[in-house]
Symmetry: C2
C-alpha cells in the first residue's frame, strides 16, 4: 500500500497526464490522501489502479492559485483492461467490429506490438473517466475529514465528492500535437472538403463527431433546395403561387433526408464501434438526492426518491411554469404586432428611406428579444429540471429537451404561424421570416464563437504573461497548459448546437413555400457554423470527455416531428394560395376537403416511407447479423464440448 503523503513534488509528472482533477483549495489533507490512495489502489482491493500526481502551480503575487490540482494517467495494461470493462468495440481481423477483450487483443486489426497506438487519446480519457466514476466506497462511513459527507458501500466516490463541491471539476487535457494536426485538416485548409469525421471522433469522441457529421449532412442536403430556391428568388419574388411545386419537393425531401440520415449515422456508428455496443448500467446523476434505500435492480444502497413526488413537482410546478412562459411569449408577440402596425402606419404616412428602414426595426427587435427569452428560459428550464430530481442523466436530459423544445418552438415560430394563418399576409410572412432568420443567425454566431473566443484570448495572454514572469525562461508546457485549461469554459454538450440546427430546420421547412431563399441562408450559415464550431471546440472550450453515441438520440425524433408539422403547414399554405383557390371558384368547402385529403395522403405516405426504408443499410446489417451468428455458434460449440467432456468424465 502507498503511504500517506506520496504526492509527488516534481513539476512535471513521470507519466503521460490524461485527465486533470481539481479539488477545492480548502479540501482537508486526509480527504486528499484517502482519495489518492483509493485511485492508486489495486483493482482487487476495489481501487481504480490509476496513476495520479499533484501539479503544483506556482504561487502568484496578486492571485492565490489552487494547490489541489492533480493529473491522472494510467499504464497501458490498465487501459487495455479498462477498454474491455467499458465494452469498447474495435475492428477485428476480418473487418467486422467486435467487443475488445484483452485475451484476444492480438486478433484486432490495429493492435501492433504492445498496443501503444491501439487506443485513441479520447478512448483512453473515456476509460479513465469510467474507472474514476465507478470507484466505489467500500466500508468507509464518510469521507475522511468530513464526518457529514456520508458514504455507503457501492456509492461512487467521485460523484459524492462532486455533488458536495469538493471535487470542483475533472476534465481531459488537450493533446497539443494532435490538436494542431486536427485543426489543420478540419478548418485551416482553404479548399472545401468533407470534414475529417474520423479524426474528430478520435479526438473528441463519437457524440461530437456525430454532431459534425449531421451538420455536414444537413448542409449538403439543403444544397439542392438552395439551388432551386435561387431562381425562385431572382425571377419570381412576388409570385408566390409557383411555390406549390417547391413545397411538394420540400415535403418529400424532408422525409427522405431524415430517413437517409439514420442510415448514414448507423454506418458511421458501426465504423466507430458504438452501434452494437451495449449500454452500461446507468448510475444516478450526481445531483440526485433522496432518503437512503435499496435499488431494486442492483440491490445496492442508494438514495431513493418517490416518483410520485417527482410527478407532483412536474405537474404542479414545471408544467404551469412552462405554460406561463408560453403565455409571456404570446404577449411579447402581440407587442411586436403593435410595433409592426405602428411602423407601417408611419411608413404609409411618410414613405421615405428612413421610414422604409424603420419597417424592419420591429422585426429585428423582436428577433433579439426572442433570442434573449430563449436564453433566459434555458436557464430556468435547467434549474427546474434539476429541481425535479431525476434519478438518471438520460431522464433529466429528456425532460430538459422537451421543456426547451416546446418553448423554443412556440417562441420562434408563433408569430410566423399567426401571420400565416390568422392574418394570412404572405408578404409580411416572408419579410418576418427573413428578418428572424438572419438576425438569429448573426446573434448566434456572435454569442457562440466570437465572444467566448475574444474572452478566452484575453485570459490566455494574461496567463501566459504571468507564467513567464513567475518562472523565468524554464520550459513549463504542462504547468501552463493545466493552468490555462483549468480556467477555460466548459463545453456543455451538443444540446445548444442541435437546438440551433433544429430551429433552422424549422425556418426552412415550415414555411418554405413562401420564402425559398431560406435554404440558401441556412446553407451559408452552416458553412460558417462548421468553422466556428470547429474553432470553438479546439480553442475556446476545455476538451470534453468523449461520449459514446450510436445516433443523435432524441434529436432524430425532434426533427421528424418538425417534418410532420411541416406537412401540415405547407398543405395549409398551398390551400391558401390564390392559384389553388382558382381551381375551385365556386366552392371553398371542396377546396378544403381536397387539401385535407392530400395532407392525409402525404402524412400516410411519410409514415409508410419511414417504415419501409430500413434504418440500417443492408451491408451493415449483414455484419451485425454475422457477429451475432458467430457468437451463437461459438456458444453452441463450447456447449457440445462441455457435454462431451462431462460424458467422458462419467465414462472414466
Amino acid at each position: 500500500m502507498h503511504l500517506g503523503m506520496s504526492v509527488s513534488d516534481s513539476d512535471v509528472s513521470s507519466f503521460t497526464p490524461l485527465v486533470v482533477l481539481e479539488l477545492a483549495d480548502d479540501t482537508k489533507a486526509e480527504a486528499i490522501t484517502w482519495l489518492l490512495n483509493r485511485i492508486r489502489d489495486k483493482q482487487q482491493n476495489g481501487g481504480a489502479e490509476l496513476l495520479v500526481d499533484q501539479v503544483l502551480l506556482p504561487v502568484q503575487d496578486d492571485q492565490k492559485s489552487n494547490p489541489n490540482v492533480f493529473v491522472v494517467g494510467s499504464t497501458l495494461q490498465r487501459l487495455l483492461n479498462g477498454a474491455e470493462d467499458v465494452g469498447l468495440f474495435k475492428e477485428f481481423q476480418d473487418g467486422t467490429m467486435r467487443g475488445f477483450t484483452y485475451a484476444n487483443r492480438e486478433s484486432f486489426r490495429d493492435f501492433e506490438g504492445d498496443g501503444q497506438a491501439f487506443l485513441s487519446d479520447a478512448e483512453c480519457q473515456y476509460i479513465i473517466k469510467h474507472e474514476l466514476d465507478t470507484l466505489r466506497a467500500k466500508n468507509e462511513e464518510h469521507v475522511p475529514g468530513y464526518p457529514k459527507l456520508k458514504l455507503y458501500p457501492g456509492k461512487s466516490v467521485v460523484r459524492r465528492l462532486q455533488s458536495k463541491g469538493i471535487l470542483i471539476q475533472y476534465f481531459p487535457l488537450h493533446n497539443k500535437e494532435d490538436l494542431k494536426r486536427l485543426s489543420f485538416s478540419w478548418y485551416k485548409k482553404i479548399k472545401l472538403s468533407f470534414q475529417p469525421l474520423d479524426d474528430i471522433r478520435c479526438y473528441f469522441g463519437e457524440g461530437l463527431a456525430l454532431y459534425f457529421g449531421f451538420l455536414e449532412y444537413f448542409t449538403f442536403a439543403l444544397v439542392p433546395m438552395a439551388l432551386i430556391g435561387i431562381p425562385y428568388y431572382l425571377f419570381d419574388w412576388e409570385d408566390y403561387d409557383k411555390y406549390v411545386l417547391f413545397a411538394v419537393f420540400n415535403l418529400v425531401w424532408s422525409t427522405v433526408f431524415l430517413e437517409v440520415w439514420k442510415r448514414c449515422s448507423a454506418t458511421l456508428a458501426y465504423g466507430w464501434g458504438t452501434l452494437s455496443r451495449k449500454k452500461a448500467f446507468e448510475e444516478p446523476r450526481p445531483g440526485f438526492h433522496g432518503a437512503l434505500g435499496f435499488n431494486p435492480v442492483t440491490g445496492r444502497e442508494e438514495p431513493v426518491y418517490p416518483s410520485s413526488k417527482r410527478q407532483l413537482r412536474i405537474y404542479l410546478v414545471s408544467v404551469p411554469f412552462v405554460l406561463l412562459c408560453l403565455y409571456l411569449s404570446f404577449y411579447v408577440m402581440m407587442v411586436y404586432f403593435d410595433m409592426e402596425n405602428w411602423a407601417i402606419s408611419i411608413y404609409t404616412e411618410n414613405p421615405n428611406f428612413a421610414s422604409g428602414i424603420l419597417m424592419f426595426v420591429p422585426s429585428i427587435i423582436y428577433a433579439v428579444v426572442i433570442e434573449i427569452m430563449n436564453l433566459l428560459y434555458r436557464y430556468a428550464a435547467e434549474f427546474l429540471t434539476n429541481w425535479e430530481n431525476h434519478r438518471l442523466e438520460s431522464s433529466f436530459q429528456n425532460h430538459l429537451v422537451l421543456k426547451v423544445l416546446v418553448f423554443n418552438f412556440v417562441n420562434c415560430f408563433a408569430s410566423l404561424f399567426y401571420i400565416a394563418f390568422v392574418m394570412q399576409d404572405m408578404v409580411l410572412l416572408r419579410q418576418s421570416l427573413a428578418t428572424l432568420l438572419i438576425t438569429s443567425q448573426i446573434l448566434n454566431q456572435v454569442m457562440e464563437a466570437f465572444l467566448p473566443y475574444w474572452l478566452q484570448r484575453r485570459r490566455n495572454k494574461k496567463v501566459h504573461k504571468r507564467m513567464r514572469r513567475l518562472m523565468g525562461d524554464k520550459e513549463l508546457p504542462l504547468l501552463e497548459q493545466v493552468q490555462l485549461e483549468t480556467d477555460m469554459n466548459t463545453y456543455l454538450g451538443t444540446f445548444d448546437d442541435y437546438l440551433e440546427q433544429f430551429l433552422l430546420f424549422g425556418y426552412v421547412s415550415l414555411f418554405s413555400c413562401v420564402y425559398p431563399l431560406a435554404a440558401v441562408l441556412v446553407v451559408l450559415n452552416n458553412i460558417t457554423e462548421v468553422y466556428s464550431d470547429a474553432f470553438k471546440m479546439c480553442h475556446v472550450f476545455k476538451r470534453p470527455f468523449s461520449e459514446p453515441a450510436a445516433n443523435i438520440g432524441v434529436w432524430q425524433l425532434a426533427f421528424e416531428t418538425m417534418s410532420v408539422i411541416a406537412v401540415v403547414t405547407n398543405c395549409a399554405l398551398i390551400g391558401l394560395s390564390p392559384q389553388v383557390n382558382a381551381y375551385f371558384p365556386e366552392s371553398e368547402t371542396q377546396l378544403i376537403l381536397v387539401v385535407v385529403a392530400i395532407e392525409h395522403v402525404l402524412l400516410a405516405f411519410k409514415f409508410i416511407l419511414a417504415f419501409v426504408i430500413p434504418d440500417v443499410p443492408k451491408r451493415i446489417q449483414v455484419k451485425l447479423d454475422k457477429l451475432e451468428f458467430d457468437s451463437l455458434e461459438a456458444l453452441k460449440k463450447r456447449k457440445i464440448l462441455e457435454v462431451a467432456e462431462t460424458r467422458n468424465t462419467w465414462n472414466k
Copy 2:
C-alpha cells in the same frame, strides 16, 4: 454406431413418443435407414441424438396404410441439453426468468429430482422440432437412394426432405390426459371464468396462448362499450346525433386499449420466458430455392436468390394482381348497390312484409360474396407470396399479411365508406353495417368450427371402427392415436383467427357512432368464439408445434393502424352530423376547419399517448434490468479474477 435396420417392430415403442414423422410410402429403404441413423447418432458426430421408432399401422383390406410412420422421443438428459440449445427461459430461484443452463439446473425453481416434470410437453416437442430442424448434412452429396436430391454441408436435412415431398409431415402428438384436463378447465366448465392461459401455454405454446389472451382481453375491453351501446339502442334508435359522445369515448378507448394490451402481453411473455429470449438465427424457409451460393452471415453454402428478381415479381405481378382484385371488389360493390336500389324500389312500390324482408337480401348476399372473395383471395395471396420466393419465413409472413390485410380491409369496408361519405345515408349505413357484421359472424363460426368438427367426427368413427375390426380387443391406444392424428387437418397458425378479430375491430371502431350495438354483437360473437376456438384446437386439428412468441407481432401494428383510421372516420362522421352542423349555421367552411383541427389534435394526442405509456410495466422492467445488471456484474467479476490470476502466474 447403430446398425442398418434397427427399426423396432414392436407395436408400442419403449419411450414416450412425442413427435410423429410421416415419410412418403414409396420412400427408398436406404434413405430411411440413413435418416434414422442421423437422428439417432450422437451430437458429437453431428446427429440429433434422439430416440426414434417405427409405428407399423395394421394393413387394411380396403385401403393401404402408410408403413413409413415413425415416432420420435428423447431421453430426459437430451431434452435438458436441448432446452439450453434453444435458449429456453425458466423461473429462477429468486423469481426472475433466466436462460436455462444445464450446469445451473438445480437453481431453477421447478427443477426437482432429476427434472422429470421441469419441461412442459409443448416445450419437449418444441425442443425435438428444433433438434430435427437443425440436423445438418455433413459430407453427404445427396440423400442416399436419391441422387437428384443434392445436399451440401450445413443444409438442414429435414427441410430438404420436406421441400421434396419425402417427409410428408411431422407433428407433435396429443397427450390425452393433459388434453382432458385442459379442455375441462378451458371450455367444459359452466361457470364463466378467465381462460387458463398458463395451461394453454403449457399445452400449445406461447403463440397460441397469446392469441387466446388477446381474444379474452379484447372481449373484456369491449364490454364497457357494449354496456354504453345498449341504452343507445333501446332509447334512441333513430337519433344518431347523440352518438358524438359515444364516438369520442370510442377514440380514447381504442388508443388506451391497444397500449394497455402491450403491457399485458409483456407481462404474460415475461412470465412465460419469451420476452427476453433471443431470437435464434433464422433458416431459409423450406420452399425457398435458388442457385447455390454462400450466405454472407453464416459463410455456409445456401441457395441464393437475387433480391432484384423478387422485387420484380412483387412489383410487376403481385402489386398489379392485388390492384386487379381491389378493382373487382369495387365492381362487386357497385353491383350490390344496384341490387339495393332495386330492392328499395320494390319496397316503395309495394311495401309489405315480403318486400320488407327483401330489403335485407342484397346485404346478406353481398356479405356472403365478400366472405367467398376473401377466401379465394387468401389462397391466391398465399400462392403469390410463395412464388415471390422469400428467403425467410418472417418475410413471407409479412408480405402475406400485408396482401391479405389490404384486400380484406377494402373488401369488407369499401361499401361502408361509400355509403357513409359519398351517399351520406346514415340509415343505410347502419343497416348495412348490421347485416355485414351478423352475416360474417355466422358464416365464420360455421366455416371455422362446426364444419371441420362434423367432418372430423365422421372420420374418427370410421377409424375407430376399422381399428376395432382389424385388431380385435387388443389395447392399441398409441396406434389408434397416431392413425387418427395423422389424418387430422393441420392447424395453419393464428393468422385467420387474428384476421377475424381485426375485421371485427374495424366494424366496432370505424363507424361506431352510427351503430353502437356493434360492440354488443362482437362481445357475443367472441364469447362463442373462445369456446369454438378452444374446441377446434383440442379436437379438430392436429396438435400444432409450440411457437415461442413475445407479442402478437405484426397484428399490433395492424390494430394500431385501424385505430388511427378510426379517428379519421369518426371525426368525419361527427362533422356530418346535423347536430354539429347546427353549431355552424352560416359557414360550412368553418365547420370543416374545426373538425379537421380536432382530428389533428386527436391524432397528435394518440401518438403522444402511445409514446408516453411505457410498453413494459415498471415491475417487469425492473426484473429485466436486474437480469442484465447481474450478467454484467458476473462478467466483470470473472474478468477481475482472470486479471488477478494472470498476475499471480507472472509473479510466480
